[in-house]
Symmetry: C2
Subunit: 374 residues, 2 copies
């Protein structure tokens, strides 16, 4: 029988202090849980999501035919993160457009959507908001906090912000901070959105429109950086849509058709203000900024063990970026398992079904389970 | 005394047959020459330009204070391509916005700008149009045809389209065809332009506007691919514009400021229809398409010697792409000099002043000069 997912909404009345200085709230977080919390409350695993995902990590949403969670190949009964053993929580981040309070939500002060008034949120803010959810669920300590990409940054931040509450940090295809090139791609995507006349300075909801053109371009740029050059070459190469050159600016190459399709799909379901917020959270993440650039020092409070994994063809967050993390952790004498997985898919690999990758995560969680049950 | 550049306009009454099937013309090409054609007419060098450049290769435009040619560090008196020895021609490509007939030119059939009616032009079309200019200038055979990036593609095409007319082909930082990723970046840039409401289906001239937002995004994307990750890191890193995080979507990082500036500058001088045409010419270039994917076979007609150069940090047209060309030429037993230059700047390196790179080109042209004068 397949896993059923039931989203739950939790309201926090106490405003959340933000890195930017203000406080935000009341607010709501939407989450899903899979599996059963054991009596010792020691088998909880928190999954943090990346740019484009949500609380719906695993299973199929109740009442739908095929709304699979975004990490269903990783999390579920018998999966590497086995929900027959672990109590897994997927939480939608503050600022999202998928249920938790975000720019599309109504601002009680004005009665209209927050839009551009929604505060700039950081990775650390998300972690604090997730810690409050853990409190509400009665979870003092996670067996593991896990995420890929932007989700991996949250897992890392958990490890040094709440050292007593994390036994294992699993951070996949991530980086300790964005490079100039990473920021550059984010900035181009944001420019495409905010210069779209339908953006209306973030107040597009009032105009019954969305900046679809900007979102399309933003998503196309994103997609290029998620795929490896090789993956694109083997999947699309120079394949033509209509067999021969048409000498036009219509779709000629399969890769053009694919990107346009992805862009259009994205523009129909993703909120432009959320896109701005989440890319900015990526830009700002830089734990070593507070320690003069010394990442070991920034991570020094952490007490957990780590699984760090990267993919050879990921050029968005290359293995070199994971090496930075691993070196800092080794200097701190944290237990670290590091794997560099030879996968062709680029950054997207962290979401895909790769035997060696899933085998690695499975073994790691087998070890966690053995300790939890000891 | 510095070199003075004087652009000349040449009209071709006879329409040019195009790869796309039609004929185009009459048309005009603008060109500049530097140095003196020798009595034997054997010291002519043709410089082909890339996406963003023009006939103004070297020297300073007459009557201006500082309008330097785009390859002034390479071409001029005493420079690697020494205009005291060689008669150098810079020609503006058909479809450009810098003087030759292009989408901004008036269509005599309608009395208004060609705009989207300007035909799709290929690299081979450009080469044929340049050969006609060579005829007009009485140059039967070039000592060298030279270019970087898209200009290198033209140099390559010269070598197999007009084998009797090229003694040396100098192709720098180029590729024998675009990869799926290369096409993807072009397509995103084009989408940014054509979805800008100010594009008006290419008829923006009639509306007294330009699709500035689209051009800005297109140029920002381009810039990211021209610079290496390392060059961006060392030039900008995570440097902040205002010293500290401002928690906003305004310019926070220096790289954002740089890209916005480059985008805005570009949108003020570059024509959107030209951008579409030139990126499409890049997409379509694929000489081996006519020979079942066999590049050696495609290049087989060529009789010239080659200088092929690439830059280690160029990820737009990486050294591997030059290797493809070199392998094909070696299989054909063409004389090939290949250099892979360890330069940090990425694709842009071909335009920059690098001692080893310029030394290489200088030695190569010294050899050409020795033969020309023998």
């Amino acid at each position: 029988m397949s896993l059923q997912a039931n989203p739950v909404r939790h309201r926090f009345d106490d405003p959340l202090p933000l890195t930017s200085g203000g406080r935000f709230g009341p607010y709501e977080l939407v989450y899903e849980t899979y599996g059963t919390l054991n009596a010792a409350r020691s088998n909880a695993v928190l999954i943090c999501h990346a740019l484009n995902a949500s609380h719906h990590v695993a299973g199929i949403t109740a009442g739908t035919a095929d709304d699979h969670g975004w990490w269903s190949n990783m999390v579920g009964p018998g999966k590497p993160v086995d929900t027959d053993r672990f109590f897994v929580i997927g939480v939608n981040n503050l600022g999202s457009c998928f249920g938790s309070t975000g720019p599309m939500s109504l601002d009680p002060a004005t009665g209209r959507p927050y839009g551009p008034d929604f505060p700039v949120i950081t990775v650390e803010d998300w972690v604090h908001s997730q810690a409050r959810l853990a409190d509400a669920l009665g979870i003092e300590r996670f067996a593991a906090v896990m995420g890929g990409s932007l989700g991996g940054m949250q897992a890392l931040a958990w490890s040094y912000l709440y050292p007593a509450r994390v036994a294992h940090c699993v951070a996949i295809a991530t980086a300790p901070k964005l490079s100039a090139q990473n920021i550059a791609f984010n900035e181009v995507a944001r420019r495409a959105i905010v210069t779209d006349p339908d953006f209306h300075a973030g107040r597009f909801y009032d105009f019954n429109t969305v900046p679809a053109r900007g979102l399309q371009v933003a998503r196309m740029i994103g997609h290029i950086t998620y795929l490896s050059d090789d993956a694109m070459a083997s999947k699309f190469g120079r394949m033509l849509k209509h067999g021969d050159y048409g000498f036009s600016f219509d779709v000629e190459f399969e890769i053009e058709s694919y990107l346009r399709y992805q862009g259009e799909k994205f523009s129909r379901y993703f909120d432009a203000n959320t896109y701005l917020l989440f890319t900015r959270a990526l830009d700002y993440f830089d734990p070593a900024r507070a320690t003069g650039g010394d990442l070991s020092k920034a991570l020094a409070p952490a007490k957990c063990a780590y699984l760090i994994a990267s993919f050879t063809t990921d050029w968005r967050f290359s293995p070199a970026r994971s090496h930075e993390i691993v070196r800092a952790l080794l200097a701190n004498r944290n237990p670290v398992t590091y794997a560099e997985i030879d996968a062709p898919h680029g950054h997207d690999a962290f979401l895909l079904d790769d035997e060696r990758y899933h085998g690695l995560v499975r073994s790691y969680f087998d070890r966690i389970h053995a300790v939890v049950n000891a």
